[in-house]
Amino acid sequence: MTDTPKFTSMKVQDPRTKKRNAAEKRFRAYGIAAIAIGGLFLAALTFTILKSGLPAFTQYVMKLEVTLSQEQFDDAESQLLKTAVYRDIFIDNFSDQLEANGIDVNYDADALERLLGKVGGDIRAHYRENLSDIGQPTVFQLQLSSRVEGYFRGRVTRDTLVDSRFLEKTDLDIVDVLRDAGLMTGRFNWAFLTGTDSGVDNPGGAGIGASVIGSFFMMLVVLFLSLPIGVAASIYLEEFAPKNRFTDLVEVNISNLAAVPSIVFGILGLSVFIQFMHLPQSAPLVGGLVLTLMTLPTIIISTRASLKSVPPSIRDAALGIGASKMQSVFHHVLPLSMPGILTGTIIGLAQALGETAPLLLIGMVGFVAREYPDGVVSGFMDPNSAMPAQIYTWAARADVGFYEKAWGGIIVLLVFLLLMNAIAIFLRKKFERRW
């Protein structure tokens, strides 16, 4: 190789270089493909969530104007089978309305029950609560049964429908006619946002409201415990801790706790808080305590990072004018790192909000979100569910109608998470400081 190399132009790629450059292109393409697959998956996930979840926010109802006179009311209340009377009144009004709209379709009381459920009870309940509506024309919006709703959404079709006591093919003729006449329509499903969990046979009536409240109380517990404890622990470790074996132990502990599977925290909560300390099962307080322990390492790690980012010159300046170490930390370092701490805390809370597995173990599944808590204390102590646990509960039920609710619940959960992350990003952008 010491001999004079013969001249080769660099403008012409020799075969080997061509091969190497092709390999280079391939390698780069792998990278792009990997990222693209990630992006594709995210897109697919978003699409699925929206497509399957958005229907949960609409509800299909039949609008019907009913007029009930005082005599009819008194008469019905004096009967033995009260709801049957109301049902007949309803059917009378229904047939009047059909006639008024010029609709001609065959139906009977059973068919209407299959479409609308037991309307008599609904109507009676309404008039008993709103006595002033008696004698006035009142528009009822009666919720359609879950299979009819499925028909509206394309989940149930004439081809797949098997006649049963829930729905028969002929019923769909009635539905078609009423839909075309505008009597059966969709509307925004407020009940889903504000409602509570329902029975296994009533996916239409299930709402996520109560479990949102459950999540809210849990987050209160997490916030008010993990923020002070996390910040205090971080200040100690970052500013005061002597270099000794105990400090090392704490450090190793924190980084390991951050990676312990969440279900193990659930076991901890079950045996310490419920078995040992006899706190009530399924209570948001217990859920909050478990999530606090889970969130602490996250908060400690991010708080320490933001304490570390405050330059030592600030501490020196405070110490230099005679402040104590404690004063320099609480008066100068802590306020300066507050935005970072808050950002970390919000992200930790968002993580806790989406956590499911430990909540299953402390009993926040099943029919626990049946009613709203009466007050603050019962908000903490009474059995309730939380958003992700409620979603799991729905996903585990047999009726496919609940799947839609589960997806809808995910939309609600993700909206909360997005909101929290947006706040965190906003805080970070607004208070970002470069030293």
């Binding site: 190789m1 010491t2 190399p5 001249f7 132009s9 660099m10 403008k11 790629q13 270089t17 450059n21």
Partner: protein
């Protein structure tokens, strides 16, 4: 084909908005040692990195003008920088052996460029390069020990061996001795003098003594300009430009 190995014409280099190299014209002869000297930040390293397009890896760097290697513009779009760098090797300021064995460090270049047909040829190239870099006697018994385990001077000679194993035509050296102690420096300087037998060497150095010792030609850079370029003897004894003189006598820099 010109007489010069490398000739640079009106080279301008910009870092973003910063005009780092202004109108530099240099001709580098084959089988000589050319030294670039000048105060810190004068652009000598930047210019050196233009010669094998190492500046390509920096996004904001832009090069204008012509740099010809054997009469071919190396910034021509059809030139493959990979082929260029196989011809124009480089040794860096800080020894940067790969975290591999000594053998693999040296064999890396020949392997990627396909210089050896088989293991025996590869072994030959490795031995030859290590011998040339004056590292063979120290390293022959530990060829499969990690290269990072060598001393600083040995590491730098390993990097030189690694660079010459690809059989370059030009070897660029960016302050190769600045991280070394005097004894290691002497060894590397001796090595540079021997390498001149095979190809041309361009060396950037902070030390004027070093430039005087190893080079035949010297270029003095100041504030991005090439101030003077001449025989080394002439630069150090009888510089034409007053700026060169004041630098050499220690008044600027």
């Amino acid at each position: 084909m010109t007489d010069y190995k490398i000739s640079a014409k009106d080279v301008q280099v910009y870092y973003g908005d910063n005009h780092a190299i202004k109108d530099v014209n240099v001709d580098i002869e084959d089988k000589t040692v050319t030294a670039f000297i000048g105060p810190s930040g004068c652009g000598k390293s930047t210019f050196l990195r233009c010669l094998n397009r190492m500046n390509d890896t920096i996004d904001i760097c832009r090069v204008e003008g012509d740099i010809l290697l054997d009469g071919e513009d190396i910034y021509d779009p059809s030139v493959d920088p990979v082929q260029l760098r196989a011809k124009v090797g480089m040794v860096f300021q800080k020894p940067n052996p790969f975290p591999k064995s000594i053998y693999d460090n040296v064999a890396y270049g020949p392997k990627i460029h396909g210089l050896a047909r088989n293991k025996i040829e590869l072994d030959e190239i490795v031995e030859k390069s290590l011998r040339k870099a004056a590292l063979w006697t120290e390293a022959k018994d530990r060829l499969h020990a990690p290269g990072t385990g060598l001393s600083g001077g040995q590491q730098q000679r390993l990097c030189i061996a690694r660079a010459i194993a690809t059989a370059p035509e030009v070897l660029l050296m960016d302050e190769p001795c600045s991280a070394l102690d005097p004894i290691a420096t002497a060894q590397v300087e001796e090595l540079i003098d021997e390498l001149r037998q095979s190809f041309s060497v361009v060396i950037v150095t902070h030390s004027m003594q070093q430039a005087a010792r190893v080079s035949q030609k010297t270029a003095f850079f100041h504030l991005g300009n090439l101030v003077e370029f001449d025989e080394t003897d002439k630069i150090f004894t009888n510089p034409e430009d007053p700026r060169t003189e004041s630098y050499i006598s220690g008044r600027i820099g």
